[in-house]
Structure formats: C-alpha cells, structure tokens
C-alpha cells in the first residue's frame, strides 16, 4: 500500500501493516496536542496499523496534552492499531506511569527500538509442538 508522506511523519515497513511516526514537539499542550491528534487520526484513517509518537525534545506535557494523548490511545484501540511512545524523558515517563498511560502503550528508547517491538508483535507465532 502506498501512503502519502506528511511532514513530521515517516513510513516504515511492517510485516502486516505500516507504521507512522508522529513527532510530539517540545511542549505538548492544547495546540500541539490537537495537531498530534489530527495527524494520528489522519494516519489511522489512511490505513496505518501502528503509531509511533516520538517525544524527542519534549520538555513538558501538560494536563490537556495528557488528555489528548489518552484520546489518541482511545482512537487507536478502536482501529485496532498499536501505539508506541519513544524518546520520552525520565520526568514524563514518571508522569505517564503515574497516570496509567503506560498501561495502554508500549514505551521504547528510540524509533528503531519501537519498530523492533512492533515487529515482535507482528511476527507469526511459532508452531505449537505436539
């Protein structure tokens, strides 16, 4: 499947689908949160099966940003797509753990690590022995 390549996004092959990377920016608040949500919706509607949200350089996620990210998780679940957060700083990881976001998304150190994680999920299960 050929997908349009938007700004702030990258296309990576995955066994059963494709992965879109969305960059969070330096401050996730209402404005940037709405931009992230819009991009994620577009990607999911275009057929992407996994979203990587890259928090490289993200200093702060405020309450509205958290709520919007929860909404993105909600939308992805409805579309049966997976979400991975990457490059999240220590403070934000702590916040996401505290608020329960990490129970619904995978966390990865980098986009490559995220792709590896997603590939593991996408790989066929080994045959069961008798």
């Amino acid at each position: 499947m050929t997908q349009p390549n938007h700004a702030h996004t990258a296309l990576n092959p995955l066994s059963d689908g494709e992965v879109a990377v969305v960059f969070a920016g330096d401050y996730v608040n209402k404005l940037s949160g709405q931009r992230i949500e819009r991009e994620c919706r577009l990607k999911l509607e275009s057929g992407y099966r996994a979203l990587v949200i890259n928090f490289k350089g993200t200093e702060l996620v405020n309450s509205i940003g958290v709520s919007i990210l929860l909404g993105v998780i909600d939308i992805a679940e409805q579309k049966e797509a997976r979400v991975v957060f990457t490059n999240v700083n220590r403070h934000t990881v702590e916040l996401f753990e505290l608020l329960g976001l990490t129970r619904h998304v995978a966390m990865a150190e980098s986009d490559d690590a995220a792709l590896a994680t997603l590939s593991e999920f996408a790989a066929p299960s080994p045959p069961q022995g008798h």
């Binding site: 405020n62 309450s63 709520s67 608020l99």
Partner: protein
C-alpha cells in the same frame, strides 16, 4: 516526599493553572468547557468524561463537552432536583446537599461514565455536573483525586454560572430591544393617528401630512441620512401641521382666498405646532423645530422667525420642500394641481429663495431614479398618481434643473 508523589502534586498544581488560563482566555463557551474537561481528564489520567450544564428553566442537563463517548455529545437528560437533595442550613437558607444530589444525578444518568460524579453548585444553585470514567491506571479514585476534582469543579462551575448570567443578560437585553421596538411602533402609530387627525380638520387636504412625511423621508434618504434620522424626518413631516389643530376650522376650510386677518391666524400654526410638540420627549432630534420652521424661507421672508439660509436646520428645509411639493401636486378647492412642468419651473424660480437648492436637487434625483426605473418601489410615482410623471420630457426637465442647481445657477444667484 517520594518522587512520584511530588510529580503528582506538581501535575495537579499545573492542571489548576492550565484551567485558570483556559477559563480566563477562551471566549468561546463550548471550547472553554471542552478545555476544562481536558484538564480534569489529564490531571487524573481518565479516558472518558463529560461536562453538562444544568438548565433550571427546562429542568435538564445539556452536555457541553464529552470525551471518549463517541463523536457526538450525549443527548440532553431531564433532571429535577428532589427535595431530598436540599437541606436547611443554620442561617435558615435552603441549600443543596452535594451527596444526595450526586446520588440523584447517578440515578438519572445510568448509561454514562460515573466513577466520579461531581455536581457543580454555585451560590446554592445547581449549574452543572462533571461525569468521569475510570482512571487509565485502573486504580480507584482516592480522597485526593476527589478533592482535586472538587477544586477543578469549583472553577468550572463558576465558568458555567458566568455563562448562565451572560445568557440571562442577553435574554433581558433582547426583551428590552423588543419592548423598545414595540414602543417605537406605538409611537409611530400615534404619530400617524395625529397626522390623520390634523388632516381631518382640513377636508381639502386629506392625506397631506402623511404624504409630506413620505416625501421628507425620500428626500432625506437621497441626501444620505441614516435610518434613525430618516425615521425622525418622516415623523416631522407627519406632524408639521399639528399647529393647525388650534386654528379655526372655517379659516382652514375657506373655499376662497382668505383675508389678511385670517391669513395671520393661519400663519400662527407653525409656532403653535412647536408649542404642542416641545414638551414631548421624542425619540428623534428637533421634531418641534422642524414644525416651527417649515414656513421659513432661505431668503429670510418666511415666518414665524424670518430665519435665513443656514439659520434654518436642514430638516426644516426638507419638510418645507415636501410640504410645497405636495401642495403643488394635489388639487385644492380653489385650484387644480399644477402640471409637472410648472412644478419644475416653480423649483427653478424659488431655489435659493424659498427652497434650499441642495434639497431641490435631492428631490429631483429621487424622482428621476423612479421615472428611470432605478428604484423599487416607486413611492413618489404612486403618491402622485397614474400618468402624472409619464411625459417623455420629465427626465430631461429633471436632469436640466439638477445640472443648473449643481452649477449654482439659480435665479436668486443671477439676481444677486
């Protein structure tokens, strides 16, 4: 304090600051409530929730914001505060009991997320409710969470209450506007009734005041006056002859040329009209003066005050021309109305003497537009009756006079 606890406290404080900013800076009510809901959900890590405002007049909750409950907000829910949810406080005031109210709201909204239900009460009035689903962490709400929701809820409640007050103000302003329109309509009807009463006194000039009102309105509009001023000049036209009410009916209705004494009596009517209209608080400026000055002349030979040129207000100059135009174009007991060519000649002769040239130009332009079919409805044509302006020469006569007057070429100017 452990790191995670500190993070939680800081996040809660930051959420309060975010909420204050959103409430203070967002002018759109629905966007403000939507952002407020985001703050609450983000403060505690909740995926589903909604905020509804309570309409006490219709006894229902109307959802203003929702998250995680589908594309559209939940439908309105009927709700009436039960007496059980109220109690009398120490000062004898009837107050809402938050805990009982919460139970009632839960019962009224069984299909919505209700891990936490926070009624929003401001000054003893239910203004709305916040409904929250489960936390993303799957942990139960603890006392601190409830306290945080309560604190955020207080701010959101004030936001809803202010919006309610604003809506009530708008509603009252709208009522006042309607009342004002009604009063204005009553005033206009009264003015028309007066005009009819004035015209009744003069059996030969039926409808004169109403026509003068209409001509004055048309001239003023042609001169570029605003709606309010145009309404005012129309009223002045309707009432310009109100002073005739105090003049002997036999003089007004005399089927012959009246003598000097009778003429002097008749000429009292502008000043008498001014005295009648002066005590009335008109919604438009200078109505009494327009009645007083409608027989003044540019050359100073008019009455009652013998004013000249710019001493006469423009409104009075308009009524003067409208009055004379109607007198020339309607039949009187002692003479038939004049042909339009004669009217034009009268305008030519009297511009700069009896009439203000700029006002004559405006009337000529208005007639020309109607004759050329440039405006609808054709009010002047209708008032003058079928056939009066049908001569092929009418447009040329009007254009010629307009050009002359615009060039300042009046007989008065030619004769110094």
């Amino acid at each position: 304090m452990p790191d995670s606890r500190m993070t939680k406290v800081l996040h809660a404080f930051a959420a309060l600051a975010d909420l204050g900013e959103e409430i203070a800076e967002t002018s759109d009510f629905e966007e403000m409530v939507s952002s407020a809901l985001h703050v609450v959900l983000g403060a505690l890590g909740i995926r589903r929730g909604a905020v509804a405002e309570y309409d006490a007049r219709l006894s229902l909750f109307r959802f203003v914001a929702s998250r995680g409950l589908g594309e559209a907000h939940p439908p309105d829910v009927a709700f009436t505060c039960d007496e059980a949810a109220t109690h009398r406080s120490g000062d004898g005031q009837l107050r809402l009991d938050a805990s009982a109210l919460e139970k009632e709201i839960r019962a009224a909204l069984p299909d919505l997320p209700a891990e936490s239900v926070m009624p929003l009460v401001v000054r003893g009035e239910l203004v709305g409710v916040i409904l929250l689903g489960a936390k993303a962490s799957d942990e139960a709400f603890n006392a601190e969470d409830h306290e945080l929701v309560r604190t955020l809820g207080r701010h959101i409640g004030v936001g809803l209450h202010n919006h309610r007050l604003l809506r009530e103000l708008e509603h009252r302003a709208e009522e006042n506007r309607r009342l004002y329109d009604d009063l204005r309509a009553i005033y206009q009807d009264t003015v028309r009734a007066f005009a009819a009463a004035i015209d009744c006194k003069d059996k030969y000039t039926q409808g004169h005041s109403e026509r003068v009102g209409k001509y004055s309105e048309i001239i003023a509009r042609e001169l570029g006056w605003g709606d309010q001023e145009v309404e005012g000049i129309a009223v002045a036209g309707y009432l310009h002859d109100i002073g005739k009410l105090v003049v002997d009916r036999d003089i007004i209705n005399a089927p012959y040329k009246i003598d000097a004494k009778q003429s002097s009596e008749l000429n009292r009517h502008p000043a008498a009209g001014y005295e009648i209209l002066r005590p009335i608080n008109h919604p438009y400026a200078d109505i009494p003066l327009m009645a007083r000055y409608h027989h003044e002349r540019i050359d100073g030979r008019g009455y009652p005050d013998g004013l000249k040129g710019d001493q006469i207000p423009l409104g009075a100059k308009i009524v003067t021309l409208a009055d004379s135009f109607d007198a020339m174009t309607t039949d009187r007991p002692y003479k038939r109305r004049r042909a339009f060519a004669e009217v034009i000649e009268d305008f030519r002769f009297n511009s700069g003497k009896q009439f203000a040239p700029e006002v004559v130009i405006a009337l000529c332009r208005a007639i020309l537009k109607e004759v050329n079919g440039q405006v609808r409805p054709r009010q002047i044509v209708k008032l003058l009756g079928k056939g009066y302006l049908e001569s092929e020469r009418v447009p040329a006569m009007l254009e010629e006079l307009i050009v002359e007057l615009e060039a300042g070429d009046t007989l008065a100017a030619r004769h110094g």
